[in-house]
Symmetry: C2
Subunit: 114 residues, 2 copies
């Protein structure tokens, strides 16, 4: 849990954008992740999850932070889940979300410049 140096990339990736052209197959995957972050609500959800105390946060703490209905938040969380950016986990009554750190690191690396 403490050692996270070895970046296990589930998909093709990783030469920084500014160094080499992204191959078409990798582009599709990466674009899907960026697309998931391309909505203000999802970006905020992502940051709330990633910066949560203990690395996890309950949906019940996410929903009231927005002027949106439960189903809508649930939909956005699903998009993040399907993009591989977060993982969820039902624990009793509540569902907890946590960020996929390696995936975020990978995206950050792709955008890194000189």
């Amino acid at each position: 849990m403490s050692k996270q140096l070895a970046v296990l990339q589930p998909e093709a990736c990783c030469a920084p954008l500014a160094v080499a052209t992204v191959p078409a197959e990798a582009a599709a995957d990466l674009a899907a992740a960026f697309k998931a972050l391309g909505d203000p609500v999802r970006l905020q959800l992502m940051s709330m999850i990633a910066s949560a105390d203990g690395g996890e946060i309950c949906v019940c703490d996410l929903t009231p932070a927005f002027d949106l209905t439960g189903p809508t938040i649930s939909h956005h969380l699903k998009v993040l889940r399907e993009a591989g950016l977060v993982e969820s986990d039902r624990r009793g009554t509540w569902v907890w979300y946590r960020a996929d750190r390696p995936k975020l690191a990978m995206l950050s690396a792709v955008l890194r410049v000189g």
Copy 2:
């Protein structure tokens, strides 16, 4: 030009996603940038521009790399331009594009994790 540590952010930004929750106003701006990258064609265009030799590339070198018509490429370039990710510059017959490195660096910083 060599020292790029001080990130000059044109817009509000920059505490990494995983450190603090992104405020709503910043989220809108950042999400717009990620959204622009959230299309495979634009991501490839972006990487071709950012990794171009000499930091610049001619549209005439971009268009033939895709199975898309000129207007479509032009549209995608416009999206990147309006997101502040690239700048363009007509030079005689041809139009040249170059990446906004600080903006890319900012996005990378936002996604950076521990």
